[in-house]
Symmetry: C2
Subunit: 307 residues, 2 copies
DNA sequence: CAATCAATATACCATGATGTTATGAAGATT
DNA sequence: AATCTTCATAACATCATGGTATATTGATTG
């Protein structure tokens, strides 16, 4: 109040800038003067001149007002999801191959939001969502296997492909027989991962029951690196291969695999309040994925799925 | 409150450090949560864990609390007279020769107090006290000439002496006749100053009616400087000469002059509130002057006043 | 210098934030 | 499961703060 009065040059003017009535401000000042035992404005001066003490207090008042404004601004940013934190976790290959790119693009539009990323499979993710240590999980889930305390929003059909380096002999042939595939070594995902069972199922579906695993346990970056330096094959979600297309590090063989019954989706806890930043990120992810699904469908028809 | 709760690790503990009851703090938090539309503490956690938003707001709260503490500290300092401003004015020779030294010693004990010094004679001082543009005036005043709206506190008898440089011929003689004095040129204070009439009266009292003025209009520093380089004489308050004793730039001739009817004193306005810093400075001045008066009396008996 | 104007102070009432004590509810712990 | 600690709620009191209406008082002007 003191700062407002001083800056606007009068008690009445000050009251206006404070959105208060003139008597209210007058009385507040009078009460403070009584409490301090010193005048805050010179006695008997009509354009109300501030005392020395008043100036000092006004200075602190300005600091307080600025902090109040900053707090208000922080609340606004937070409420509109433009500041805050979103903690997201998911299966490693997906996080590295798909989500991380989306996070980058999200952060270019919402630089105030901090993203905490971590990795895990369904059981850990479910537990962490329950404990509240993460906000969202991205994970392939069978529709009937969604834990009861979690919401599930599918975002992508779970289609896997056989992946290899663009330099792989099979990738350069326009046509090949399924038996040719059996000759090459395989990169297997970590044993616990859903992709590992996918791999077995997929190979079963094309009649390959016996295969040699040359490398296992690596993250996406390792897998791509190993593939690039060898003739190894692996099974990856098509979306992951698709996202790598610009880097030309991975390609998909035109082999139709049997698909798992799972869908990739976003999981979150049923009755845990959703922070605005999380909501914002969630919506962003969904939008990105519908866009991605379209582009995959368009391109997929041309390039893959032929046998 | 948020900062207190976070820092002391719990709502109850926070309430204690805030000197409030636990329910009061609890409800305040709840009201703020409702107003913000977001939680400030995690739901269902008993050692009450702060939300992200809460941390941000607590940060601003700490700023506000610090500013509040600073304001309180400023008020305390001000009320105890250890911070603030005192505006003092007085006759030039006195301000330069006596008061300025006291100001220096005052400021070494009260470095937070700002002293504004200015110069003037009784009429201006009286007016400025009336307008409130100065707080204290130091000036020789005749007891019956104190303006009615001013208080007057005498601090020193107005004794004048004939002053000269220590190297002056008369200062080196153990005895001399009054006629010898007439031979030397005089430094006269500014024509408007009380000292000027003192000069005439003093010389009249020892039978010198005709004297040559060699220099006039200067401040104390000029007068001392001119005296040092010449055989000029002047009339100065003995207190001024006394304060210069350490510098050995001025000495007093052992001539008994007739003294003006005025007393040096402190003037202040009757019904203007006295700021604590002014009060403090005022008391300090009075104490200094009683000390000075004693020392002058002791020494004066030995050195001067012999005829 | 009186009349007038603008600025501030006061009177009076309403409201709501904030304080208290007593007590209930719910995580945390053993 | 029992108990303890911690927090939330209930019920009430108080006072700062807000408003409108009006009085008071420096400032201004003819």
């Amino acid at each position: 109040m003191l700062a407002a009065i001083i800056d606007s040059g009068g008690l009445g003017e000050g009251a206006i800038t404070l959105n208060k009535s003139q008597p209210s401000v007058s009385r507040s000042v009078a009460m403070l003067e009584k409490r301090l035992g010193s005048r805050l404005f010179e006695k008997g001066k009509r354009p109300l001149r501030p005392t020395e003490l008043c100036q000092v207090l006004a200075e602190q008042g300005r600091v307080i007002a600025a902090a109040g404004d900053a707090a208000q601004a922080a609340v606004d940013l937070y409420a509109r999801g433009k500041a805050g934190t979103a903690r997201i976790a998911g299966t490693p290959i997906f996080m590295d191959g798909v989500i991380s790119g989306m996070i980058a693009s999200f952060q270019s539009t919402f630089p105030g939001v901090t993203i905490h990323q971590s990795y895990g499979y369904l059981s850990e993710l479910s537990e962490q969502l329950g404990m509240g240590s993460i906000d969202l999980a991205i994970c392939p889930v069978r529709a009937n296997a969604v834990p009861p305390d979690l919401n599930f929003k599918p975002i992508l059909r779970g289609r896997n492909v056989i992946a290899c380096a663009p330099s792989h002999p099979l990738a350069r042939k326009s046509a090949f027989k399924l038996e040719d595939i059996a000759a090459y070594p395989w990169i297997a995902p970590p044993a616990g991962s859903p992709l590992y069972s996918d791999l077995k199922m997929a190979l079963d579906s094309i009649g390959i029951h016996d295969f040699r695993v040359s490398f296992t346990g690596g993250s996406l970056a390792s897998i791509i690196s190993v593939m690039g330096g060898s003739d190894s094959l692996t099974v990856l979600p098509y979306s992951v291969v698709f996202m790598q297309r610009a880097a030309r590090t991975v390609t998909a063989l035109p082999v139709k695999l049997e698909h798992p019954e799972r869908e990739l989706g976003i999981l979150w806890h049923v009755d845990r309040p959703v922070r605005p930043a999380v909501k914002r990120f969630h919506k962003f992810l969904e939008a990105e994925f519908t866009g991605l699904a379209h582009r995959i469908d368009e391109r997929g028809r041309e390039e893959v799925w032929r046998r």
